[in-house]
Amino acid sequence: MQSDRPVDERDLARRASKGDRRAFAALYELHVDAVYRYAYFRLRSDAEADDVTSEVFQRALVAMPRFEPRRPFLAFLYTVARNVIADRFRRARPAASFDEALDRASELTGPEEAAIRSDDARRLRAAIGRLTEVQQEIVILKFIEGRETREVAQLVGKAEATIRGIQMRALAALREVLRGEDLER
């Protein structure tokens, strides 16, 4: 996790927690893409990923005076992101399923949506959405983000050995979902 600049990041976090807006903006630049990818693969549409990314940094900014700078800032952002997404799921229509969301996506028009429809990112996103929450997080953090198992364990809040035990099962589950979709097509 940004291992080439841990000292700078801790200093930025310390300054940001004391109200230094430029320091927070620098932290934002460091991590916005990781937060966006996390939201992108846990949600159904680009618009939702945009909204969640924005909300994560808004909430993080509000919480900064209470942030403990010794903790990795990205771990804090993932916690906020997880909660923002949980809130969205809670507010969503209860009976809405991932399949229904995809059906709605196919009703969209416009060049961007058309591109997304034909893109294998959409297929992957749908497949990830069918995994359990822990499996989703491991697929995103370990295999898409390429983070070390130790780091994933820290970010997810589980023991490293637990993550090591789950990660291949998560990958195998994803393969099964993708394979099932291939058969349906």
Binding site: K18, R82, P94, E112, E133, F143, L171, L174
Partner: protein, 243 residues
Amino acid sequence: MSGTERELEALERDLARYRSIAAPAALRSRVHSEIMGAPAQPLPSRRGAWIAVLRPGLAALLAVALLAGAGGTAAASLPGDGAFPIKRAVEDAQVALTLSDDARLDVLTDQLERRLAELEAVSSQRPGALMVALNEFAAALARVETQSDIVARLEATPARDAALSRAAASAEDHIARLRTLETRLPEAAQPGIERAIDAQQRIGPASPEPPGGSGSPSRPGAVPSARPTIQPAHTDRPSPTRR
């Protein structure tokens, strides 16, 4: 290497190419502007001791006032009832008026326990309100998770450790009860229950290390630890979301 292992390695390589997805430029720019333009957040200040004394009293007063105003029915209400929002408002007030982070975790843990009891009641008495009750439970769980995270970062004190232990013990109990619920709930509720179990596992006590500790990876050819350079694998990429 078996065919399955080869397939998984291929999938692993395929997933890595999505690492190039980045926040769209318009979003980056907008959020950056929002950050720089947002009003300053006040730094936490030490409140006077009198506030510490008054807070629990204010919370109780507010709770009594609200509950009396609602004819006392709110406290017994279930998710989906008209009086339930009043019960939630009282609970939110209790959280807002609780002084310390560890005490706040205790309050939120109590509320989570209440949501689970309501979910259990609704599942047997009012199946029509099941998804509402499940969503309320998920929201309470998210609040406990966030607060646990805050408390876990505090300096170790007996109060802090007790609050964390209580949340973890309650999570263990909840997982067992959720698994029981899972067996009798309809399929539509299953993903929600699984997500709740996942979240409770994050709050619960850390899993013990298996024999052999954290030594070797689970299979040969595990993912390299370094983040590889991002290179497009082919042209069929998620281009709309990239810069």
